[in-house]
């Protein structure tokens, strides 16, 4: 258990009806490793991340978190067997998720959003939850915004609250699905900085992003998805350096005009 990877994905297949969106993904992430998932639109990045968060149930294959099977395990007779809900809840509690659309609860303040799950799902006392929530908000630079409602915060601030909300539950792994894609360009920096700090602190992270600069400088591993398959996988140097896979070249052409050229 102790030397199991933080995340192990084996033969993951996801079908929506007849369309196969993930066609057998194998992926490992060591503890403290930052994996950046890149790929064209529709390649299955979100679906893979959502399977790891157990927001989608994979059609086939296995996911292990810290050595513990998530959702499904190989049964004694070699069948893929669904695990009981309590097991699933236990393993999921090691995972934090950050969404493109922030998904803050609009009827709670920033502090309320961060405290809520501590009190409701974890049964912590209000006082203890508030103390922890305030600490997490301070870490993302929002101590002064604690009593603001989401509608009173900028997109960048909302996303930082969402990160604080996930961190308050002390996850082992943080998943990010295009955390800066719905932000104005001048607000992406504040969110990426929080994520960079988190990575430096040793958090295991899987980040779906189109921010090539961030992926190249913070990512330990780049995974390039294309049509539901991992096309290229390696360090930023291996994936972005020359010689480059022609699909990566093509992909970079689309995104490099976003000012990331200088970072490669």
């Amino acid at each position: 258990m102790t030397n199991a990877p933080a995340i192990r994905v084996q033969g993951l297949v996801k079908r929506f009806g007849k369309t196969e969106v993930l066609t057998g993904i194998d992926l490992e992430a060591a503890r403290g490793e930052v994996t950046c998932l890149l790929g064209p639109s529709g390649s299955g990045k979100s679906t893979l991340l959502r399977c790891i968060a157990f927001l989608e149930e994979a059609t086939d294959g296995f996911i292990e978190i810290d050595g513990a099977p998530l959702g499904f395990a190989l049964g004694p007779d070699g069948d893929r067997m669904r695990l009981p809900p309590n097991d699933i809840r236990g393993v999921r509690s090691k995972i934090g998720m950050v969404f493109q659309q922030f998904n803050l609860w609009p009827h709670m303040t920033a502090l309320g959003n961060v405290m809520e799950a501590l009190v409701t799902a974890r049964g912590m006392s209000k006082a203890e939850a508030e103390e922890r929530a305030r600490a997490r908000l301070a870490e993302v630079g929002l101590a002064e915004r604690a009593t603001h409602y989401p509608s009173e915060l900028s997109g960048g601030q909302q996303q930082r609250v969402a990160i604080a909300r996930a961190l308050a539950l002390e996850p082992k792994i943080m998943l990010f699905d295009e955390p800066t894609s719905s932000l104005d360009p001048e607000l992406t920096g504040e969110v990426l900085n929080v994520m960079r700090k988190l990575a430096e602190g040793g958090m295991t992270m899987v980040v779906v992003t189109h921010e090539i600069g961030f992926a190249a400088s913070v990512g330990h591993k780049i995974v390039f998805l294309d049509q539901g398959k991992i096309l290229v996988e390696g360090t930023p140097g291996e994936v972005f350096g020359k010689p480059r896979h022609p699909r990566i070249d093509q992909f970079l052409d689309t995104y490099l005009d976003r000012g990331a050229a200088g970072l490669l």
Binding site: R89, W105, P106, S151
Partner: protein, 222 residues
């Protein structure tokens, strides 16, 4: 013809009693109707599929027929299936059923308007379904459906007048009786209109107050 206020004053006790009946039936139907409507919306969303079909059919029938016809059928047809109700209970029951159907549609659209991501965030944070319903769905839905609820509640007040057809001693029936007795329809119905309007105005104000209170919680993005 003159506007005879003396006549109105003479009948204040009668009018007040009738107004009380109207208020009572209305309030009862709003309370039972919204509880029933919420239960229907929850069952249609999370209950077994056949239950969903039945409830959908029920809602369609209630929404597809005039309330006047429903209340007639309930009061005069009810005894044939062993449902003999006095006029006030029949009125309260009929109006509650009618309200439940309409409120359930409001709640249903409210459920659908809650961004899926808000529920997924709760799911990721380890909430059980009941916790998500209580802490996220209910409050978010309340602010989403508030304007439609206020609107429907006002419409319900006006529907109470239909109950005069089964002799519920409410405002419209009692006042038209006074009108007939003294041949003073203008006086009596002016009073009726003012009372209904005053009440709906009050209800609308309360709704706007509540909406203003909730406006901070509004969604910051679509």
């Amino acid at each position: 013809m003159t506007f005879d206020f003396a006549l109105v004053l003479e009948n204040v006790p009668n009018i007040a009693r009738a107004f009380g009946v109207t208020l009572g039936v209305w309030a009862g139907a709003v309370v039972f109707g919204s509880i029933g409507g919420f239960a229907i919306a929850v069952a249609r969303r999370w209950g077994p599929t056949p239950v969903g079909w039945l409830l959908r059919a029920f809602v369609e029938v209630i929404r597809g027929t005039p309330f006047l016809v429903q209340i007639f059928l309930l009061y005069y047809g009810g005894p044939f299936i062993g449902l003999s109700l006095d006029n006030i209970p029949a009125g309260l029951f009929g109006l509650s059923v009618y309200a439940a159907a309409y409120y359930s549609e409001i709640f249903r659209t409210g459920f659908e308007a809650i961004p899926k991501g808000h529920l997924e965030a709760a799911d990721c944070a380890g909430f059980t379904r009941a916790q998500t319903l209580r802490r996220i769905v209910l409050p978010e839905m309340t602010m989403l459906v508030l304007p439609a609820m206020v609107n429907m509640t006002i419409l319900m007040l006006k529907e109470t007048a239909v109950l005069s057809i089964i002799s519920v001693p409410e405002l419209t029936l009692e006042v038209s009786a006074i009108g007939t007795a003294h041949y003073a329809f203008v006086e009596s119905f002016t009073i009726v209109a003012l009372l209904y309007w005053g009440l709906t105005d009050l209800c609308g104000r309360a709704g706007r107050l509540a909406e203003a209170r909730f406006s901070r919680y509004r969604f910051s993005h679509s």
